[in-house]
């Protein structure tokens, strides 16, 4: 499938789910992302990107849950626990720290946090499913500086992970094994210096091959916009527009089944990518 279609699919799947405001559907969407990424990921894209997005999503979820239940405007409802409340000055009415924790409060915070996590995961999935270079090439003729920045970032980022590991090892051999705020500089300095040098190298290599000098770049083997791309695009549009109303009018089971079938369409329409060996 075309890289652009993969992005479209990831984004519209998350938008459709966000519109329903339903925790279960959001969890289902995350599950679908995980399955599709493992089945159809681009073998040249780093899987780390997806793993990283999931880690970030979990961390964000926990932090938001914690602060959302402790701090914020109170929601009336069933009280689960009552924490001691910090007295607030008069001009800060409506804000409270501690106090009654209601199940409604937890529910609303959970939905909000899930939404945020879903967006993170959908971006991670899109990165893994598509080829970043294809995306950049698609925009390179229009937005030169944006494209060159993106291109350098995508090729330097994996390098940063690699040199970070190397520097950690080198640092251990200088007798430093504990990491804290004061000596974090000892890692970040060599890593950043190296990635800067590399970025400069790459940009001058691209320049010397004529990147950005020609108004209309051509494509050697353009990704085709095939029938399955068209089907997925239509399905995505349908999901975004109708899922919330379906949920209201047709009930749970039907929506879930339709949701799974439609959102997993790329799995059925595309073939397993074969590893290059």
């Amino acid at each position: 499938m075309n890289s652009l279609t993969w992005w479209l699919w990831s984004i519209s799947l998350s938008i459709a789910t966000l519109r329903t405001n339903n925790n279960w559907l959001m969890l289902l969407a995350i599950l679908i992302f995980v399955v599709v990424v493992f089945k159809r990921r681009n073998l040249q894209a780093p899987l780390n990107a997806f793993a990283l997005s999931i880690q970030l999503a979990v961390v964000a979820l926990i932090i938001r849950l914690f602060f959302g239940t402790i701090i914020g405007t109170p929601l009336p409802g069933t009280v689960l626990i009552s924490l001691p409340q910090l007295p607030m000055p008069d001009w800060l009415v409506g804000i409270r720290i501690g106090g009654d924790i209601t199940s409604e409060r937890i529910g609303s915070v959970l939905t909000e946090s899930l939404k945020f996590s879903l967006i993170l995961i959908s971006f991670g999935a899109a990165t893994c499913l598509s080829s970043p270079i294809e995306i950049i090439k698609a925009i390179s003729s229009r937005l030169y500086f944006f494209a060159i920045t993106l291109l350098i970032a995508t090729s330097v980022l994996p390098q940063i992970v690699f040199s970070y590991k190397r520097v950690i090892a080198a640092r251990r051999m200088r007798g430093m094994h504990k990491l804290n705020i004061f000596n974090f500089r000892t890692i970040i300095t060599p890593v950043l210096e190296e990635s800067l040098e590399r970025a400069i190298d790459l940009s001058s290599a691209m320049e010397s091959r004529g990147f950005g000098y020609h108004k209309k770049p051509t494509r050697y083997r353009p990704e085709k916009f095939s029938q399955s791309d068209l089907i997925v695009t239509i399905i995505c549009g349908y999901l975004i527009i109708f899922i919330p109303t379906l949920l209201v009018s047709n009930g749970w089971l039907f929506t879930c089944c339709l949701f799974i079938v439609f959102s997993a369409a790329p799995l059925m329409l595309t073939e397993q990518r074969v590893a290059n060996t």
């Binding site: 090729s155 080198a170 640092r171 007798g175 890692i187 060599p190 190298d201 790459l202 083997r221 290059n276």
Partner: protein, 536 residues
């Protein structure tokens, strides 16, 4: 093809002129070799040709450089992409895409060639550089030589008149380097391409270049045929060195030249190979296995290393050398089997216990640096290791006097970076010194300093293990050579027997004097060659 007229180059905030009033012409389909000590301005010279200076860096340039009728002062590097192809030191750093075919096509795409033309050009280049078997591979999965071949293909795809290569073999093992140089030779002879190439390992190239440009670093440039320039400079490969020491009239440039000259030489004393017995075992590796995800880097390796040995690890890129070094340094946690350094498991040691036992100089010495100046770097090394103030600085001065304390550690030359890293590591007086490819980008002078440092350390009882592609350096300094392939030891023995038995790893002197088992220039000199006719 390329004309320099009255070219001078100086960097702002620097009093050193790189080039001064240089005028010379490179003819069509000439192969020019650019040499000079690191930091002398070789790279600046190369960058002038495609206009990276003055368009990208802040060099102040006077005079004019004309390439194929185009003035580089007026045109940006990108506009010269159809005239000049560039190949860098580390091919991976210049790759834009991830697939071989896409990478070759990239230049054509950005320049808006029609798809049919692209198809044909890419196919031609794949044939020319024999890339057929790897055309669909991921660039990261290629060997160093293959990567460099792809880089050359993607530079040639624009049909340039001139190919500029900046140390194309410095990151490659000897076999891959030969592969790349053979391609360059073929391009010059078959296609009539003009090639400008910088290279440190002269022994590999001087016999097939047309002229040498020696950048002195003080503004002067010496240009002439290889024999002329070699006779005037002290930057010499072993073959030239021996010719000079024996006062030969004509300077040989290849193994073949010297072999023909030396056919009738009579050697009085056959060299006695002194094998020093090292008894005290310091490192023991048993059944070591290292794997990364599903790839086995080392499988079932056994090894003992004794005190005072200088062990050289050789073999292709990816043969498992670095993995072995890291396992000995305790930096791998993905290995099985036992590694014992002085009866301790290095993976369990931390902090000062570790650095007092093992000194490790990584492949990129700069990984160790985080200070803002050489002096501060030394100070923080003292603090980190709880040493008396000035210890590291003192060791640094013993190793080399030429390093400016005020400079940023990233701004000193490659050789100086290595020496600074060695000084930091030696400050704690480790029993074992590990160096991972210490000769990358080092010139002959820096190598001589390194040889001296390592020999001294070994005499005082330090055990040294180094991975290296540089056969001449290994021949000079190592007492034992281990050759690895596919994660296994395939040869292990004293330097003389291992190096002379393998054609790929034989140093020049061993290739010339096949019967005598000599490795270095000093071997030959000390063998007291009888009456030779210097006029021959």
């Amino acid at each position: 093809m390329i004309t320099f007229s009255n070219v001078s180059l100086i960097y702002p905030n620097s009093r050193k002129t790189i080039l001064e009033n240089l005028t010379f012409t490179v003819d069509e389909s000439e192969l020019i070799l650019v040499i000079g000590l690191t930091g002398a301005g070789k790279s600046s010279f190369m960058k002038l040709i495609n206009g990276v200076i003055p368009h990208h860096t802040s060099g102040i340039l006077s005079g004019e450089i004309i390439v194929d009728g185009k003035t580089t002062n007026l045109l940006k590097p990108g506009e010269l992409s159809g005239v000049i192809g560039i190949v860098g030191q580390n091919p991976l750093n210049g790759f834009v895409t991830n697939k071989v075919e896409d990478e070759i096509a990239f230049g054509l795409e950005t320049n808006g060639f029609a798809p049919e033309v692209m198809r044909k050009r890419v196919e031609e280049l794949i044939d020319l550089l024999s890339l057929q078997s790897i055309r669909n591979r991921n660039l990261n999965s290629l060997s160093g030589g293959e990567q460099q071949r792809v880089a050359i293909a993607s530079a040639l795809v624009m049909n340039p008149k001139v190919l500029v290569l900046d140390e194309p073999t410095s990151a490659l093992d000897p076999i891959a380097a030969e592969e790349v140089l053979a391609i360059i030779n073929k391009l010059v002879h078959d296609l009539g391409l003009t090639v400008i190439m910088a290279e440190h390992k002269l022994e590999r190239v001087i016999h097939f270049v047309d002229r040498i440009v020696l950048v002195n670093g003080d503004g002067k440039v010496d240009i002439g045929t290889p024999a002329e320039v070699m006779s005037r400079t002290s930057i010499n490969p072993p073959i030239v060195k021996i010719a000079k020491k024996l006062n030969l009239k004509s300077i040989p440039l290849s193994v073949r030249d010297l072999k023909r000259v030396s056919m009738n030489w009579k050697f009085k004393v056959p060299i006695k190979s002194e094998v020093i017995q090292h008894n005290k075992q310091v490192i023991e590796v048993k059944n070591l296995e290292v794997s990364y995800q599903l790839v086995k880097a080392i499988s079932g390796l056994n090894l003992q290393i004794h005190a005072g040995e200088i062990v050289a690890l050789m073999g292709r890129n990816g043969a498992g050398k670095s993995s072995l070094l890291r396992a000995i340094a305790g930096a791998n946690n993905n290995h099985s089997g036992t590694v014992k350094v002085l009866d301790k498991n290095p993976a369990l040691l931390v902090g000062s216990q570790l650095v007092r036992l093992i000194g490790y100089v990584p492949q990129e010495p700069a990984d160790l640096f985080y200070g803002t100046s050489v002096a501060k770097e030394c100070q923080s090394a003292d603090q980190d290791n709880q040493l008396a103030a000035g210890t590291t600085q003192k060791i640094l001065r013993q190793l080399s006097t030429g390093i400016d304390n005020a400079l940023h550690p990233r701004d000193i030359s490659e050789g100086q970076k290595l020496i600074l890293a060695i000084a930091i590591v030696l400050a704690t007086d480790p029993k074992i010194l590990i160096l991972d490819e210490p000769t990358r980008g080092l010139d002959y002078q820096a190598k001589e300093v390194l040889v001296e440092i390592l020999s001294k350390l070994a005499k005082s009882g330090t055990t040294i293990i180094m991975a290296s592609h540089d056969v001449e350096l290994v021949a000079e300094v190592a007492s034992r050579v281990i050759v690895m392939a596919e994660g296994e030891l395939i040869a292990d023995g004293d330097t003389r027997s291992v190096l002379t038995s393998s054609p790929a790893f034989a140093p020049q002197m061993a290739k010339v004097f096949t019967k005598q088992n000599w490795l270095t220039v000093n071997d030959v000199i000390s063998a007291d060659i009888g009456d030779i006719n210097p006029d021959a």
